[in-house]
Symmetry: C2
Subunit: 372 residues, 2 copies
């Protein structure tokens, strides 16, 4: 390979996910399949649920992995938690907030939004004020780690406020899970979803998700059925729960891999993993500064993500041309901007398996060939 | 392992799917991931679409794999093709017809059904008569291979009739694809979905699907948006098509495996593969007869599936006890009945990779330890 990383067997994936994967994940992926109704497989499902409870920091019984990519987690949460005419509030400061808004409209909710510029986050007190002004509010949805901009949204106070209301607190933790602190129970999060291919460093294809009793009660009391069969939680919990009623054929090999990824994660320890992401984020920013490059997120005003760094493309450099050179000449993938930031920022993932000084060194070694 | 099959590395999966997998699939699964936006990955997507066109026997441009299990293919097809108040006709002779009926209701269609007993199929002429009596019909949905009963539904004449009407012909080919003849274009099928884990012998997690121009026009002319974001074809075709617009992070490793599975299939050749399933089906029935067991499908009146054999549980044998013994003592998985056939039939999969005399021999060698 054209990059100098000996521990991977292909391109170095320094974009917004998927990441490279540990050899233990490769070995799990290539195991002989089991039936989705085999008691040995049920043990794996139980283990996944239990490990997911640890990483979500929750005691929620209903904690499992949706058979689809990260966005299917969003769809699982929202199609179950939102009914026609429900008043919902969506916080929008990037692509993934807008995506939740889009789905809420499809579900015929009465959608209100709060917007911040791409690259900015929300002051929690202002969000709480807005929530207080909406007495019929049924759900508030927030992205903890906006992958499109690299900004971190603080959510603990919003959640604690919502605990004492009837509104459900839904958090998109696709990019944040196991990379930065996320305390589902303590922070009053009622439902939270993630993706396998970010800080968990398992290939894309599964969406970890959790629902607490408040969320389950809202679903139980629905007046209309979920418009989706595939994402109907009422049926799915009978498969992931003790009843083991067949719903759909679970993606067994991907679940072997998720189980292994969670085990790697818990062997490292959550706090150590957060610390590693933090320290490699600092290391990245130091090299960025050395290279004369500027972060997109204004770090004096907002918190940036430790696992996903957005960087302003320097003047005179052509976005696509540089990314192609990195990919073709060096087998290193970096991400471009989305929407309004297209051509204006790059996005560098230093997530999970890929949050390593060695990888960051290699990235800057090659990147600086073209920008200085 | 406790079974005597040397070519697999675990349990012998002789149930209704997943099957065991070729070592080439294992090696594809454990490849280093690529970015879902890498041109090298786009080549793989193109190759998958092209191979899927071959196995579906279609020229449909929009032919790809849904990021979910077989049932997500159903949901992709129906959420796009059905609008509120559409008059639809669903043929029900088992679990999977009922599942389509269930989803059609969720989508608020005006649902009519034709029903046959579990284990029976429909006379095509009667279906056509029913269709003729419904002038406002928007969609007809049929299961080609009812995995719950093992019966084959002939569909060519229904499709040819529907070609000259405004109604869309939707076919569930989850278990049939590459195991029995399926001619999407010739038979006038407008949309057809399948699953990766049956005759393709790739692990569960992907749903091959195809839409023709008639189906796309129906979707283009929708008055209301699809209630699903995840399954919105209008957006997804911009990712699988030439535009390559990001929609969700594709399940890259599973797609490596599907690409390999399709390549194995086309190297064997479709006709040879059908022939192999047919001949091993005969072989299975001969051993079944020798063992004094009776098929569930009345083969004088109906066609049974070559890849999924349903068998009446002999008197005096306890269903769950026997299946547990096969699994625990011999590492051989066989399937039980669903719904009304629970406890009354077993279901044996001899699909794709597992359609092998050696596997059938091993199955009967162990099974007959308990039933004679």
């Amino acid at each position: 390979m054209k990059n100098n990383i000996k521990t991977i067997d292909g391109k170095l994936l320094m974009g917004p996910g998927p990441t490279n994967i540990d050899r233990r994940i490769k070995s799990a992926l290539s195991k002989e399949p089991l039936s989705h109704l085999d008691p040995d497989f049920f043990s794996i499902l139980d283990n996944i649920s239990s490990s997911l409870r640890s990483v979500f920091q929750t005691n929620n019984k209903v904690t499992f992995a949706v058979s689809g990519t990260g966005s299917s987690g969003m769809e699982m949460a929202m199609t179950n938690l939102i009914e026609e005419d429900d008043e919902v509030l969506i916080l929008k400061n990037g692509e993934f907030g807008s995506r939740m808004e889009n789905l809420a409209h499809r579900l015929k909710a009465r959608v209100s939004t709060m917007s911040a510029k791409w690259g900015e986050s929300f002051e929690q007190s202002l969000v709480i004020e807005k929530i207080k002004s909406m007495p019929n509010l049924k759900l508030v949805a927030v992205v903890q780690a906006e992958t499109s901009t690299g900004v971190l949204q603080e959510i603990d106070l919003i959640g604690k406020h919502l605990k004492n209301t009837d509104a459900i607190f839904l958090v998109d933790a696709v990019t944040s899970l196991t990379g930065v602190s996320l305390k589902v129970d303590e922070w009053g999060i009622d439902s939270c979803f993630s993706g396998s291919q970010k800080c968990l460093s398992v290939p894309p294809g599964l969406a970890p998700i959790t629902f607490n009793e408040k969320a389950l009660l809202k679903i139980k009391n629905r007046k209309s059925p979920n418009s989706s069969w595939y994402f109907d939680l009422k049926m799915l919990i009978n498969y992931w729960g003790e009843e083991r009623v067949y719903h759909h054929t679970a993606p067994v090999n991907m679940l072997f891999a998720l189980n292994e990824g969670l085990s790697i994660c818990l062997q490292e320890g959550l706090e150590k993993r957060f610390e590693r992401h933090k320290s490699n984020s600092k290391y990245f920013l130091a090299l960025l500064d050395q290279a004369g490059l500027k972060p997109f997120v204004n770090q004096k005003k907002f918190k940036d993500l430790p696992m996903l760094k957005s960087v302003i493309i320097p003047e005179g450099i052509k976005d696509i041309e540089l990314r192609s050179k990195m990919l073709i000449n060096h087998d290193i993938e970096i991400g471009g901007g989305l929407g309004p930031t297209k051509g204006y920022i790059w996005r560098f993932g230093i997530m999970g398996f890929n949050s390593k000084k060695e990888f960051i060194d290699e990235l800057f070694k090659k990147l600086t060939l073209y920008i200085n």
